[in-house]
């Protein structure tokens, strides 16, 4: 059999392999985006940028608690204008190598989401990922945009109206029913979905001083600990919106993790926290491992095993 074909197409953008750098990990500068791309990723996502520069919370903002990470960075970013410049340079360098550059955006109001999308579009990223796991400052209690299908769809519509570039809406595992939200954002015009953002919030305490380890006290959990939850979310979303490209993120560290995601329904796989333990070789290792698996199973394309969970009858009809 010939070499298996690991390429995928996300909303018309070809990726040489299905690995994607997750937002917020290393993607702070053009040089880092290029470095991660050249180390093997099929696409790279920038750190989420907003309307204005933000320093974020004081340190510690990220801690390694043993089975994963906890983070509350406070959406630090240099602002959409600076990020647009970084994207332009990165795109120039990565285009020749067929590595896609995805801009991640967030905002504090539904309206601002459109403004940020419009501004980032000037840099012509291949795709725009919309991070809705952030608080709406116009809501009385700062409710997250991802909290209800209604608001998630409002953001999606506003971003769609503000750009011609295809958009990925990134979903949170923490609110309502993720399949319901997936349906709502797709109906509102989302071209693709990525899931999941961090799980939680969680809390890690220092027992000597009794202080929370990260300065925001609570933060999102990522890494190996959340992988099974991410696989279940991807499975639910893929069944709710079967024709929509889906990037499966959450605890992917090995080819096995990535293959699981694809079987559950993912077109591409995001890698974030695993860079801590595996380094930048993680993208190549995952790609090689998927190729070996495909050869062993005689799969020519990723589509041959995507969204192919063996349907066994659940023991009871009710979820735990």
């Amino acid at each position: 059999m010939s070499e298996p074909d690991l390429s995928v197409e996300l909303c018309g953008i070809p990726l040489r392999n299905p690995t994607v750098l997750a937002s917020g990990i290393l993607g702070l500068s053009e040089d880092l985006l290029i470095r991660v791309g050249e180390s093997g990723a099929g696409a790279v996502v920038t750190k989420s940028c907003g309307l204005k520069p933000r320093a974020g919370y004081p340190n510690p903002v990220i801690a390694d608690w043993g089975a994963g990470l906890i983070n509350a960075v406070g959406l630090s970013n240099p602002g959409v204008e600076a990020t647009a410049q970084e994207i332009q340079t990165a795109k120039h360098a990565l285009k020749r190598k067929n590595i896609a550059v995805i801009a991640s955006i967030f905002a504090e109001s539904v309206w601002d989401f459109g403004t940020v999308a419009e501004k980032i579009s000037s840099a012509q990223p291949d795709l725009i990922e919309v991070n809705i796991s952030c608080p709406n400052v116009e809501h009385e209690f700062g409710q997250f945009f991802c909290a209800t299908p209604y608001v998630a769809a409002q953001v999606t519509r506003r971003v769609k109206q503000s750009t011609k570039i295809p958009i990925i809406v990134k979903l949170s595992p923490n609110e309502a029913n993720i399949a319901e939200i997936a349906k709502a954002v797709v109906q509102a015009g989302a071209d693709a979905i990525s899931a999941i953002n961090t799980l939680g919030p969680g809390m890690v305490l220092d027992i000597e001083s009794r202080a929370p380890i990260i300065s925001n006290r609570i933060g999102g959990i990522s890494g190996a600990a959340i992988h099974p939850i991410a696989v279940r979310c991807v499975y639910d979303i893929a069944r709710a919106t079967p024709r929509v490209p889906l990037i499966g993120i959450g605890g992917n560290a090995t080819a096995r993790d990535a293959i699981e995601m694809i079987i559950a329904g993912a077109h591409a796989v995001g890698v974030g926290s695993a860079i801590l333990s595996r380094g930048l070789d993680v993208f190549d290792e995952i790609t090689r491992g998927i190729a070996e698996y495909m050869t062993r199973h005689n799969y020519a394309r990723l589509a041959d095993f995507r969204a192919r969970v063996l349907e066994t009858a659940p023991v009871s009809g009710v979820r735990p």
């Binding site: 500068s29 040089d31 320093a55």
Partner: protein
């Protein structure tokens, strides 16, 4: 790795604005040039070079809110630390070592000097400051039995001028340079080392958050100062366009260093 929270066992005033903190812990495998993240619960967490392994020791100049708050701490107070992080100095193949330090950079070099002395390698330490009161660690370095050269900008001690003015024939003898100090000093040392063809290792600073290669905050032209550095060779640095020119703040926004005197030598 979560921070370890331990007591401060000793505090030593080094000069009017610099104190050494000895912690009730050890960091047996740390190498000179590596750093820890020091945490004051409820306040912030910042990077500091390791000055000694056992007991774990750091030396801190009061320059802003965090370092000033640390200076207010007393013996017995709790602080957290995690590390050791980064790539330190490579001290193998000892030859004639010339260590060049500015400001609190001398403290990290003291660790390197004591390691080199244990290996019986010849060591010269050149230290600079604005005036004699800005000098640091002079007695400790002297106690290692190494050759010491001093420069002050106002000429109140040693040669007048930047630390590079004090080098003299130590530079011609040197087969290896180690440097730690403000970036303007590092740029001068890099140029000198490249011009004289002396292998040099320089310890660089950038704004840090995670300290372990995840956030990207400390990027120096795509190298992670917390992981690929903080020690880089002069050859490596000469290929990184941001070195000596651009640093990033907590938001990730890039700024140019102001002139060459961004921080004093």
């Amino acid at each position: 790795m979560l921070p370890r929270v331990v007591k401060i066992t000793n505090i030593i005033a080094e000069n009017p604005y610099t104190k050494t903190f000895v912690l009730d812990d050890a960091i047996p495998n740390a190498m000179p040039g590596q750093f820890i993240m020091l945490w004051l619960p409820g306040l912030d967490e910042k990077p500091f070079a390791i000055v000694a392994r056992a007991p774990l020791t750091i030396t801190v100049a009061a320059v802003g809110p965090f370092s000033r708050a640390l200076h207010e701490r007393a013996m017995g107070d709790l602080v957290g630390w995690r590390g050791a992080f980064g790539r330190g100095f490579d001290l193998n193949d000892a030859g004639e070592n010339l260590l060049i330090g500015g400001g609190y950079g001398v403290a990290a070099l003291y660790f390197a000097a004591s390691e080199l002395r244990e290996r019986h390698a010849p060591v010269t330490v050149a230290m600079g400051g604005r005036a004699s009161q800005d000098l640091l660690f002079e007695n400790r370095v002297n106690a290692l039995g190494v050759n010491v050269l001093i420069a002050t900008e106002d000429g109140s001690r040693g040669a007048r001028g930047f630390v590079t003015a004090a080098l003299g024939d130590a530079l011609t003898r040197a087969t290896r340079i180690l440097a730690c100090g403000p970036e303007a000093m590092l740029v001068a040392v890099m140029k000198l080392a490249l011009a004289k063809n002396i292998p040099a290792q320089l310890s660089v600073e950038r704004y840090m958050k995670c300290g372990f290669g995840i956030c990207g905050q400390c990027t120096l032209s795509g190298k992670l100062v917390c992981q690929d550095g903080p020690v880089f060779t002069a050859t490596e640095l000469s290929k990184l366009p941001e070195f000596g020119r651009v640093h990033r703040d907590a938001s990730g926004a890039a700024h140019f260093f102001q002139g060459s005197g961004a921080r004093r030598i």
